[in-house]
Structures are given as structure tokens and as C-alpha cells.
Symmetry: C2
Subunit: 260 residues, 2 copies
């Protein structure tokens, strides 16, 4: 059995990572490297200018070959684990199960997905799992069964060229799923609004709130699949080039100019 790297962004004490470790341990020797505290919405942030700490923990008992709490971001956890804990590359990197959706535009803010992305950039096939429900005490029975099936397929058939999947589990009435849909990321945005308060010294501060605006009416998106009760699977890439936009710049006619 090869090694599997498990990480997340909710922190090593979250219920989601325990559910993932339980399933992952059926497929390989699990090494956990996860943040020592919640690191949600950290995106691809990297800790620079200060060093990291890494502490061995016994949270997962015999389920794992080793588990480490790291003082940094989700991306730091993956980078530090890859450099310090593996003599050969892991078979797979699994991130999550995130408490909350990483569908649609959430993918760019998510620490869970960024951790998986960091492993994918290093050539490791990686999957981020997220549960749309924020509930920390959610029942993981159906999610674990689905993850077992997906991980088995990933190990058997491999992942596509991008090496990275964003998988979200919907909230359904009885907790079960209609099936799996392979989708594109829905076009949506967070409109961030702030509520101001005044501290006892008369100075203002601002609490983040926000509205989620969906622009996409497509039926081939992750949001649509989730709404229908399907597990959504989006293959994710790290080339952000808007290739279709490149020809737009003929209008700029700047390339011909040497005088910049």
C-alpha cells in the first residue's frame, strides 16, 4: 500500500478530516498534515517571513502512519509534508471534508481546494471534498460511502490531465445522493458587504458579511447538480489564462509599438 496525504482547511480537529481519514485509511498508509487551527478562506496563501512549526499528534490512533499539526496555511501544510514527511511521492492527496461548499467561485477562496491544488502542481493526483452543509456535527455515513467509491475510481482509472478534482456533496432530505455529475464551475460571485460597529474607544471596525450572486443559468454547472441532489465533480486547472480573450488585443495594436 502506498501513502496518501490527507489535509484540510478547517483544522486537524474538525470532524470532516476524521471522516476522510477513516475512508482514506482503507486505501493506503495515511499521513495527515493539517492546520493546527481553522484556516478557512486562506486560498493559496503561503506563510512567508516567519517559520512554521509542525507537531506530531495522536488524534487518529492506528488509522494513520503519522499525523502532524502545522502552524501555517493549508498550502503550507502540503508543501511542508511533501518536503519533510515523504521519501517518495504519495499516491494521492485528499483534502477535506470541508464544512461548507467549495462549488462555483468558492474554489478560488477555499483553503481546502488550494491545498489539493498545491499537491496537484507537484504532480500528485488530488481531490478536494466539501460538504455543502456547514454543520459541524453532520452525519458522514453517505458521504463516506461516496468518497470510498470515488477514491477507488481515482486509484483505478486515474484522474485527468489536470490531476485535481473539486467534489461537493449536496444537502438532501434523507442525506443520500442521486448520483454523481461531472460539471463545470458555475459563474457566480460573492458581493462582500460590511457591517460597522464602534469600539469603546469610539473607533469604527467592520465585520464581513456577504451575498452570493449566481449569474449562471446553465444546467451543466456544479451549482445545478448540487441543487438537484447530485454530487458535483469539477476538474480544476491552474492555467488562469483567458485564452479566448487573447485575440481581443488586436484592437489595442500595442504589440507593434516599440515605444513603451
Amino acid at each position: 500500500m502506498g501513502h496518501i496525504l490527507v489535509t484540510n482547511d478547517d483544522g486537524i480537529h474538525a470532524n470532516g478530516i476524521r471522516a476522510l481519514v477513516e475512508v482514506a485509511s482503507e486505501f493506503g498508509k495515511v499521513i495527515v498534515a493539517a492546520p493546527d487551527r481553522p484556516q478557512s478562506a486562506k486560498s493559496n496563501a503561503i506563510t512567508i517571513g516567519k517559520p512554521l512549526r509542525m507537531k506530531k499528534v495522536s488524534l487518529f490512533g492506528d488509522l494513520v502512519a503519522g499525523a502532524y499539526a502545522v502552524s501555517g496555511t493549508p498550502v503550507d501544510c502540503v508543501s511542508l509534508a511533501m518536503d519533510q514527511l515523504f521519501t517518495e511521492a504519495p499516491l494521492l492527496c485528499l483534502s477535506g471534508v470541508n464544512h461548507g461548499s467549495n462549488s462555483s467561485i468558492n474554489v478560488i477562496y477555499s483553503g481546502t481546494m488550494s491545498a489539493a491544488m498545491q499537491a496537484a502542481l507537484a504532480g500528485i493526483e488530488s481531490i478536494g471534498f466539501s460538504n455543502v452543509a456547514f454543520d459541524e456535527e453532520v452525519d458522514f455515513t453517505h458521504i463516506k460511502a461516496a468518497m470510498r467509491k470515488i477514491i477507488a475510481m481515482a486509484l483505478d482509472k486515474g484522474l485527468p490531465k489536470s490531476k485535481l478534482l473539486n467534489i461537493n456533496f449536496p444537502t438532501t432530505e434523507d442525506g443520500s445522493f442521486k448520483g454523481i455529475k461531472f460539471c463545470r464551475q458555475a459563474d457566480a460571485q460573492w458581493t462582500q458587504k460590511f457591517v460597522s460597529r464602534t469600539d469603546p474607544h469610539g473607533r469604527k471596525y467592520y465585520w464581513l458579511t456577504g451575498d452570493f450572486l449566481v449569474h449562471d443559468k446553465g444546467t451543466d454547472t456544479d451549482l445545478h447538480a448540487l441543487k438537484q441532489g447530485y454530487i458535483s465533480v469539477v476538474p480544476v486547472m491552474t492555467d488562469l489564462t483567458a485564452h479566448d480573450d487573447l485575440e481581443f488585443f488586436d484592437a489595442w495594436e500595442l504589440e507593434k509599438s516599440k515605444s513603451v
Copy 2:
């Protein structure tokens, strides 16, 4: 004259943002909202669970209509500014000038680019500017001239559908540029390595170092353009779907299954 939002990730005291403010002020009424301290490599991170502070500063004198130092990430700066400082949407969001390259895979880690991306998601045409040289005391003469030309074109001709450009200035012998190239993001990765030290209490800690590995041999990339002495311009999008990979999943044949 409409309003222009200026931000960065090196912090409001960096020389790069001053150079950008000087140019931007020729095109509109500038509002600066930038981090109160360096926030490099923060990617699309958002501050959650604690409030933000925003302090009016007089750093830029009459060049600007207002300047604010924000206690959060670059994305926080843009969100807070859009919500609290503008009654109508700005004409343009300009981010930078970053001290250091945001070409190639750096785009996913960059706070400079993520700030611009946040504005683009809100429908604002946005440009991130980065100088490949890390040098804090760099001469901005040629960069300012090029930015002047690019901002004029952006206001005149508009940006393509993605509404977001990643622009990098190369280091050249005499500081001048050969011209502008419209490119795709080069395929490369950071392999993060750590150097361990031991503190006076016998506990290990880890300093981040790293190697930049370029996999891409293309001549249509940002890295290639920069190497040749051209300014690189990459249109950037936020749909991370690996569309070409979607058909791969026929091999999984999971969609047909209801038993997940």
C-alpha cells in the same frame, strides 16, 4: 473624471503603489485602499472571524481623493473599499506595482492579482502590475511611462470579457522595454523546500525556501516575453474548470450509477 481604485499587496507604504498612484491620478480621482502592512502571497485569502480596521492616511497628499490603510488582506481591501468608499462603481481598479514577478504560476499566490481579481468579479475592469525585480528602490521611470500608455488604452478600448489583466515588467539592462506581448500564463510550479532550525528550547521550526521549475517551452508565454525584454500581458479568468478534461470521465462511468 471617474474614480479609480488603487490597491496592492506590499502595503500602502511601498514604493510601487506610489508610482502607480502617480500615474493613475492623471486618469481619474484616485481612491487608495491598501493593506496597512505587507500582505504578499496572500492569494484570495479573506479575513473571517475578526473585524477589519480602516484608517484614513495622508501619504499621497493632493494626488488622491482619499487613501485608506486596511488591516486585512488585499482582497479585503477591495471588498471594503467597494462597499464603504464608493457610491458608484469605479472606472477601473489598478493593483501594484508589485515588487516581484506575478507571471506564470505566481498569479495563483499573488495578493496583488487577487485584489484585482476581486474587483473584476464585481464587474470592474482591473489590471495588476508587477515588476519582476524585487528591488524596493527600483527606478520607476520606464514603468510609469508604460503604465500611462496601458491605462490610456484600457480606458479607450476597454478590456476583454475577463476584465482582468496580469501585467509584468521585465528587468532589462537599461531599464527600457522592447514592447508589449499578449501571452498565456507559462506552465511552471514552485517546489517548496524547508530549512529546519532548532530553537533555544530544543524545538524544530521550518523556514520556507523554494525552487521555481518551468515546464513550459512555449514562445507564447509570459515568461518567454519577459526573458526577451517585453512587457507581458495575460488576460486572466476565474473559471478554473479544466473543460478539456470533462470527457475523461466517460471512463469512470459513475454518472450512470445511482448507488453512491
